[in-house]
Subunit: 281 residues, 3 copies
């Protein structure tokens, strides 16, 4: 499949998305895990969005309705998620609202597996995960029968991003959206083009929630732009802020603080200028 | 209604409240939202209090009984809150213990609405919220029938503080306590006097939990002082610490870190010296 | 009871444990409280471990099975813990997997008491708590009938560490593991020797989660070493990092940030060199 995008056009879209978010402060509700919920909210605020986190079914439906996009992260499930998540994704689908899925911890527990299977028919506009999670989700949705069954170990990333290329493209084509695979070089695809994104820092693996909060920021951008641009713009914001934070950090604690500062201070043109390559899928 | 307070007398009370809290480290239990629970606890500790957070009904009753005051924040409700919150507010009322209500996210979801209606007959000693939340609560409790029905959008503040003056006074008179409305200029009232409080910084809107943690610190102060003083002293501590943090912050991440340092380092006389105006309600 | 350990042998084990953790990044799952779950995960990452946090019963069993050790912290219980915790400790016992118990808030609420009683027959390899909590657990398990019944006040520590010596030794002998009592001078025992550990800083009482996150780091070390060494190595890492953080902190906010940096940067030989005394139990 060939793509209609050029690098210049995508850079223009990144800058527009970042500027729109800063101007409009769009509401992006989240149903997300307890470990990193604070970081998700603070990253969304720093990027220019308005966060709101809920657990209950009618509150998930409400945010689906009033928000520009919704973020769903599968970590630290509670029993109520068995009701909240199906109702929320149905509300999102019924209203053609975009949402972002982070399939964190895929492979652990019966409820998570059951919910993720259910989502196949109410697909997100963006899936964000590490290589192992993306491969596992494509396998769960039977989109990538050749991919080796993911050999999961907790919430770690241990597959290389390049190994997830086929799974990411398959997921993007099924969802008619985009997929962002986080790693040393990130991969973003809409099923037609594949983008390789540079930057970031190794400390992003040494603080919990960089993946989760990136997913939350993708949802903020998805309030103002199409899936591929939302996934790419948020990824490049993180790559820029990660590099800037690393320049002043003494360790993971100061890295996270400097990262939030850098997200807040990043200008649209700077985000658009972070290097990436484009190729056909 | 005219007030018995003068500015000087209130300043003396602020300094006494702050000094008492630092000397006694009072226990103020919290039932609060998952997003900012860490920040609430750390702000309470930095101010001199002793935090304890719970979810279960008998634990809420226990903290109501042993704590000097209790903080109840309505964010991120779970099913168990349907039992825990009514039982806790009844225990507080039966023991004439002060408590602080943050009606965050008022207007979202059936359970929150039902619980807030129930609280009308077991009133808090202090309500803390932004202008939109205060207007909505006065409306829900049918205390301010002229106030326009709140036009809510997520957890954002978009009504100006001055618009909430009537609602705040009405709530304070109903509860026979105090109301603190957070904004660029904060408003604190006991239904007899209205105080306008200066300071703070715009970064307090760019990090999640400044409102929640202020509510938690009001509860700490309410262990040692009457409602108006508790609401005012905590508000002024935040105004002072916000200004000091802004002087060194590079963005929202470093602002939050510097803010906790400044709360910890603020001296009673300095908190009392933060400017505010007083007028009759 | 006399001990086979010498100070030099323990120092060698500390350095080995720290080096192993940095080399292997062992997975240590946690069922832990909502207040400090973020700090627990970040401390585990900074120490070299791989965290994973869950609430649901089958997920607790899964982590018990695949992790090197598990951390169970009794704060902020939800109804689901009534099922998750008994199933998880049984899975741990059945597979002879080490786990670390933090009996935080012992004495508050019926469910916590019931669960802690149940754990007596599925004992952890390390118990970590403050003096009050350790005394209360020994009393609950009827291991220390002479100890005064703990006079609890919230989650504060108000018994001195030395008062908990008998309770700690009794618990260590019952569990055939180790006990770490946190305080100004920490006490670590395996029931045969008693270690007194120096360092740390008063700010560790002024930020929530230093106790919880220490428990999480003990679990990470317990993936690679025996209980006494795991408890001691983690305690000394905290004593070292606390001193280093205090040298640059302006208050509790900057202390926590600098602490995580210091945990990350601490070298095995430096951790082993933190002073401690050894005596027979």
């Amino acid at each position: 499949m060939s793509t209609a995008y050029t690098q210049e056009r995508l850079q223009r879209h990144i800058a527009e998305a970042a500027a729109q978010v800063r101007a409009r402060h769009p509401l992006a509700g989240s149903i997300t895990n307890a470990v990193t919920v604070d970081f998700v909210a603070n990253a969304q605020l720093a990027a220019g969005g308005a966060p709101a986190m809920v657990y209950l079914p009618d509150e998930g439906e409400f945010l689906a309705s009033v928000g520009g996009a919704t973020y769903i992260n599968m970590g630290t499930l509670l029993p109520i998620h068995a009701e909240t998540l199906p109702r929320t994704v149905r509300a999102l689908a019924a209203q053609h609202k975009p949402w972002v899925l982070d399939p964190v911890a895929i492979g652990i527990g019966a409820l998570r597996q059951e919910l993720l299977v259910d989502f196949k028919d109410y697909p997100p506009c963006v899936v964000r995960g590490n290589a192992t999670e993306i491969i596992a989700l494509a396998h769960l949705w039977q989109l990538d029968t050749d991919a080796a069954k993911a050999n999961l170990r907790g919430v770690d990333a241990h597959n290389a991003v390049t190994e997830a290329r086929g799974a990411a493209v398959a997921l993007a084509r099924h969802t008619r959206g985009a997929v962002a695979v986080s790693g040393e070089v990130d991969l973003v695809t809409d099923g037609a083009c594949v983008l390789h994104c540079y930057g970031g820092n190794h400390f992003m693996e040494k603080v919990t929630g960089f993946g989760c909060s990136l997913g939350g920021v993708v949802a903020v951008y998805a309030c103002c732009s199409e899936p591929l641009v939302a996934a790419l713009a948020a990824t490049q914001l993180y790559n820029l802020a990660g590099q800037r934070a690393a320049a002043v950090a003494q360790g993971p604690g100061s890295f996270q603080v400097a990262f939030l500062d850098a997200v807040y201070n990043a200008q649209p043109a700077e985000i658009a200028a972070v290097p990436f390559d484009i190729e056909d899928a």
